[in-house]
């Protein structure tokens, strides 16, 4: 594949996809729109999560905390004032959130602010923990998620406690969610390709060697962590205006677990792998509702079992780790080259891409 063809091809395919999304918003039924929206939000969150876990190799368990920060920020910003007075009947909402709400036109600002607040949270938690090596990050980020959960449950004048905030206007349309999804894929994959990204990958492969080569390990971990937190916050904000309600239980560890499955199955380190698996996951989650529904097999009646989905997902994660650790894509990206070589249209020149990759590894 010639280099100068790639950019126009990418732009063209995004344009075609945009047309599809525009058509879908008006013609698909509400159920499919909902699933597609969820898929896009999973893309934003999973691609961002992969930046810290897969590209930089730092095991974080905190995206649910960052998504909560983004979700609650957006909810507080866009909830109409009369609705605010109605929802906060336990204790009134504190100033300044009780006196204004952003109109639909400024929705993008609300989401951006949600991302910024989450990124600040990332700075706050990353600063003490990213200096440490190894698993402490996993504990500290998990702890951060739990701290956010406990705060959300107890700061009633801000978050309305366990009841959560209801009646958020439904601003997340397919155009918004998929716009953010494509933006996050482009941003994160460009970051991963840049010199910063190469430094992050060096840290993933061998932290000590990377440091010895003059890479500022702390700075690059921090960069990955903050960018990751930003997009997680954006995903949380989009989710809030998609399902029109936020509550602490929405952002429990299950959320992180879903994202972990997505990035592991997609291949730790592969941005495109995460994006594709995120879509598959959103659909799989809907398909697996069948497992939880009662089943009638002739004379045998199997009662529906709630929670079966999560059992299946956790088994999937364990099996993937035990038998197929590379995931769908390993560390490779899906590029035009690989697409064309798979289609077998461009002959030998491109067909060698995968082989040469393998030879480098061995």
């Amino acid at each position: 594949m010639k280099r100068e063809w790639q950019m126009p091809l990418t732009v063209l395919s995004i344009a075609v996809f945009a047309l599809f999304i525009w058509w879908g918003q008006n013609h698909l039924n509400a159920y499919y729109i909902r699933v597609l929206n969820t898929a896009a939000i999973y893309i934003v969150a999973a691609v961002a999560y992969n930046l810290i876990n897969g590209v930089t190799g730092q095991f974080s368990l905190g995206p649910n905390g960052f998504m909560a920060l983004g979700g609650f920020t957006v909810a507080l910003l866009v909830l109409p004032v009369p609705q605010k007075q109605m929802v906060y009947f336990l204790q009134p909402l504190i100033w300044p959130f009780n006196s204004f709400s952003l109109p639909q036109g400024l929705f993008v600002i609300a989401v951006l602010l949600g991302g910024v607040i989450a990124a600040l949270g990332g700075l706050l938690i990353g600063f003490p923990t990213l200096r440490l090596r190894g698993d402490y990050l996993a504990i500290a980020t998990f702890g951060f998620g739990e701290i956010i959960f406990v705060l959300a449950n107890n700061l009633i004048p801000l978050t309305n406690g366990a009841l959560g905030i209801k009646g958020i206007p439904e601003y997340s349309t397919l155009m918004w969610t998929w716009g953010w999804a494509i933006f996050s894929i482009i941003m994160v994959s460009n970051l991963a390709k840049s010199s910063y990204g190469r430094a992050m990958k060096a840290i993933r492969e061998d932290e000590i060697a990377a440091e010895a080569m003059g890479i500022n390990v702390f700075f690059h971990k921090m960069l990955a962590f903050t960018v990751s937190a930003f997009f997680a916050g954006v995903a949380g904000g989009l989710l809030a205006t998609l399902i029109t309600t936020v509550s602490p239980s929405l952002f429990m560890f299950t959320m992180t677990f879903n994202l972990l499955i997505i990035i592991v199955l997609g291949g730790l380190g592969s941005i495109t792998g995460s994006a594709i698996t995120a879509v598959l996951f959103a659909f799989l989650q809907e398909l697996l509702r069948a497992v939880e529904a009662p089943i009638q097999l002739g004379p045998i009646h199997l009662p529906g079992v709630a929670g079966m989905r999560m059992v299946v997902f956790s088994l999937l994660l364990i099996l993937a780790m035990l038998f197929y650790r590379r995931g769908l894509f390993g560390k490779k990206e899906l590029t035009w080259d690989t697409i064309f070589s798979l289609l077998g249209r461009t002959g030998k020149r491109v067909g060698t891409t995968w082989k040469s990759e393998k030879m480098k590894l061995s």
Binding site: G57, L61, Y136, F142, G143, I147, G307, L315, L317, I318
Partner: protein, 297 residues
């Protein structure tokens, strides 16, 4: 606060802390040898209480016998988890084992919800645990006395095993230098298996006493005690058994004292443990008794 209620709270703190200590030892032993946070440890704790619960309720066994059987069963479960989920990943990157551990934990919790039911169950506690004793005017329930006593006995047994038996010596050797120990002819997998067995047994013992203290059990009950115990292991210096004991007591006493002195903050107590952890990581990343880990290059 008068001195009497302070002592009462301190006893409560010690009894909670000794439970954290029992769980923390399982984390610290596994981490000391494999450098793996065994996320599923808290769920073994949960499983231990369910074993005891069903042994009492279904098989009508006497209380002490079902406790012992539950502890033994949990030890087997711990060994099984290691065999199935962690052993195939011994030579894999550490992040793979860590992700598997998260998966195992989530699997146990959700299978627990499906099989055991999400609704909490009342735990039948024996009389001597719920009896209130009169100690110089202050009434103290049996739990606050018996939990630390049983914990100390278990800890003494553990220290004997670690420092006076052959398998204990092997464990200490493996945690110091795995490769060299293997070259000396020690069966690594066996030692690691025993480590999981001992850790899981202690977690189950902790779980049963936990259920005597808070007599309601549910499939997610292992999450928070598990994380607090892990925090305790880190605070005490991960890999160090005495450190885990001290860390457990510290975390338990802090938690009880916060609720006792600042009742308004009691909703935040679960978050406070993690704040303690982060502050501690900042000030003394290796913990109270921890040595600086040498990075292997």
């Amino acid at each position: 606060m008068d001195i009497q209620s302070f002592i009462q709270q301190l006893l409560n703190g010690i009894s909670l802390g000794s439970l954290y200590a029992l769980i923390a030892i399982g984390y610290t032993m596994v981490y000391g040898i494999l450098r793996l946070i065994n996320f599923a440890h808290g769920d073994v704790f949960m499983l231990g209480t369910y074993f005891a619960f069903y042994l009492v309720m279904i098989f009508m066994l006497p209380w002490w016998l079902s406790a012992i059987l539950a502890i033994a069963l949990s030890a087997l479960v711990g060994m099984f988890i290691d065999r199935v989920a962690y052993r195939p990943l011994r030579n894999a990157p550490r992040i793979s084992a860590l992700i598997t551990a998260v998966g195992v934990s989530f699997f146990m919790e959700n299978t627990g919800i499906v099989v055991l039911g999400a609704r909490p169950k009342g735990f039948p506690r024996p009389d001597f645990m719920s009896h209130a004793y009169n100690l110089g005017g202050a009434y103290i329930t049996g739990v606050s006395i018996w939990v630390p006593v049983i914990s100390i006995i278990l800890l003494l047994v553990l220290f004997y095993v670690i420092y006076r038996t052959k398998i204990g010596m092997a464990m200490r050797a493996v945690s110091t230098d795995m490769e060299t120990t293997r070259l000396m002819g020690v069966d690594l997998d066996r030692v690691i298996s025993y480590t999981f067995a001992i850790g899981s047994a202690l977690a189950a013992a902790g779980g049963i006493m936990w259920a005597c203290k808070y007599p309601q059990i549910n499939p997610l009950m292992g999450i928070f005690p598990g994380w607090k115990a892990f925090t305790a292991a880190v605070v005490g210096g991960i890999g160090n058994i005495l450190g885990a004991t001290i860390g457990g007591l510290v975390i338990g006493i802090i938690e009880i004292m916060i609720v006792a002195f600042f009742p308004a903050l009691s909703g935040y107590k679960d978050a406070f443990v993690f704040i303690v952890l982060i502050v501690f990581l900042l000030v003394k990343p290796t913990g109270i008794l921890g040595e600086t880990l040498k990075e292997k290059v």
